[in-house]
């Protein structure tokens, strides 16, 4: 019953389990937390290592001797310009204020996604499950397509890009400087279990924009009485302060931190309950209301509070989410830290819905069809657009300057070695 009990698989199973438990890369020869392997917390989750046998070489570090002889920060810019003898990194990146993007998030941040074609018999074909091994070894998350650190083009046809790709477009020196420190089921309570997987050296690395986006699990759980298990505002305050103090001792000076509020998840029930779930589309026999009730009965509902027919419970969940968002807002307004400044941003699902409707879409199209819970790729990228525009408008210093050498970097280094 347990494939890992086979002697020849025991060792590799142990390594895989450790990688999943610690959120550290499975394959990381030099133990610098960056990998040349895509899944199992590899470069789908943080910038690809360009030398996995040297722990002083990894994305996001300040260049060693202006990368005259090697690409110490893996941004694809290195060597000396033969015309004038100046290292390219110095020429193109000095003073450009490079920075990385780090997401501390949950399943939404890691982009949890189960493709509907895995469940819809009429759409199933030989190609349907081609991504299943990748998805399983990425914990059913698709960080390579996520709104914060995604580096692949959207599969949904939407033009909006991830924050990482926007930062990279703004300054090509930021190439590969992304970390998705997210986990399914993550909340303010359990972040301490995997925050150590974050890699940033205060002395050696560039500053970073850190986004804290635990958008649901402090109010979401599958208990029969979910309210009892929700994080209280006092608990949240304490948890967040611990996280922020930890970050203050690890982030390079000049970093920025954005705290995301929690959404009002009542839209889940309102927009889905009478629609057919992918499993019910063939015979018109399974609605989302039935799926939510089945999950609650099995006590595996990811959010009994919002994915419930009980209106009072949905309202209570929203009230607690609002209280938690207010706590985050207060922390952002009052607390000061040495190495980063702090901002708060609402999780503006209403704004996204409005924008999507303007484009001719329907609100239910913004929710993951299989789980009926997570924001899908379109919703996440629309949210990124709101994030970016608000940053440009209110706090442009967070995004840094536009690098005037971008086109020259492109000319000399092409795709900079890929992500």
């Amino acid at each position: 019953s347990d494939i890992c009990s086979l002697p020849f698989l025991a060792k590799i199973c142990q390594k895989i389990k450790l990688s999943i438990q610690t959120s550290m890369p499975f394959k990381d020869v030099d133990s610098d937390k960056y990998s040349v392997f895509p899944t199992l917390r590899g470069y789908h989750w943080r910038g690809r290592d360009c030398n996995d046998s040297d722990k002083t070489v990894y994305p996001g570090r300040r260049p060693d001797n202006w990368d005259a002889h090697r690409d110490s920060n893996c941004n694809g810019i290195w060597g000396i310009d033969p015309k004038d003898g100046i290292p390219y990194e110095k020429k193109f990146c000095e003073g450009s204020q490079p920075r990385g993007i780090i997401l501390l998030g949950d399943s939404a941040g890691a982009h949890f996604h189960i493709p509907p074609e895995w469940l819809i018999a009429s759409q199933m074909s030989l190609n349907s499950f081609s991504d299943l091994p990748t998805a399983l070894t990425d914990e059913l998350d698709w960080p390579q397509l996520s709104s914060a650190t995604g580096f692949l083009n959207s599969t949904s046809g939407i033009e909006e890009k991830s924050i990482y790709l926007r930062l990279r477009k703004r300054n090509r020196c930021n190439h590969r400087d992304y970390q998705n420190i997210s986990r399914n089921g993550a909340s303010s309570r359990n972040l301490r279990k995997f925050i150590e997987s974050l890699s940033r050296n205060q002395m050696l690395d560039y500053p970073a924009i850190v986004i804290y986006a635990m958008i649901g699990n402090d109010v979401c759980n599958g208990r029969a009485d979910p309210v009892q298990a929700m994080t209280t505002p006092e608990q949240l305050y304490s948890n967040i302060m611990q996280t922020l103090k930890h970050l203050d001792s690890h982030l390079p000076k000049g970093s920025h931190m954005v705290l995301y509020g929690l959404p009002n998840g009542t839209f889940l029930w309102e927009n889905l309950h009478d629609r057919y779930h992918p499993l019910g589309q063939l015979n018109k026999d399974v609605t989302y209301a039935q799926v939510f009730s089945f999950l609650s009965c099995l006590q595996v509902n990811p959010c009994h509070g919002w994915m419930s027919s009980n209106k009072t419970l949905r309202t209570l969940t929203s009230e607690r989410a609002q209280q938690l968002s207010n706590t985050l807002k207060t922390i952002a307004a009052r607390e000061k830290f040495t190495n980063f400044d702090l901002f708060y941003m609402d999780f503006a699902f209403e704004e996204i819905t409005e924008e999507w409707q303007k484009r001719g879409g329907q609100p239910w199209q913004l929710i993951e069809p299989v789980d009926g819970f997570h924001p899908n790729e379109v919703a996440s990228l629309l949210l990124t657009d709101i994030f970016w525009k608000k940053m440009q408008r209110q706090w442009p210093q967070v995004l840094g300057k536009e690098n005037p050498f971008n086109s020259q970097i492109d000319q000399v280094f092409g795709d900079q070695g890929g992500h």
Binding site: A121, L132, L282, N283, F294, L298
Partner: protein, 122 residues
Amino acid sequence: HSNGHRCLGCVLVMSVITQLAQVHNSTVEASMERLCSYLPGKLFLKTTCYLLVHLFGSDIIKLLDADMNADMVCHTLEFCKQDSGRPQCHLYPLPKEAWKLRQEKAKHTVKKSENMKYLKGG
């Protein structure tokens, strides 16, 4: 929650098998074969699928051919269990016939199954 996840997984897979048979107007056996053939070879996915068909296939065929739905199959194969004091969990609307009566029929269908004896033996 592992019991819940096991039950959920079983109901999803049984639903897909049933619907594949319906879409392709094929037998349950062909539908299971089809599902396994769609899976990639990596991570032993195809092998595991064929192994599961080898283990449970004959019972699944008997139950689905006897017009049992995914909920009933998973309860009968004991992937879903009703804990004492907890309600009977089901994804599909309950059949007109009483659940208990139907479950008795389903159990009778796989009474002599070697796999059921194996499962019950833990």
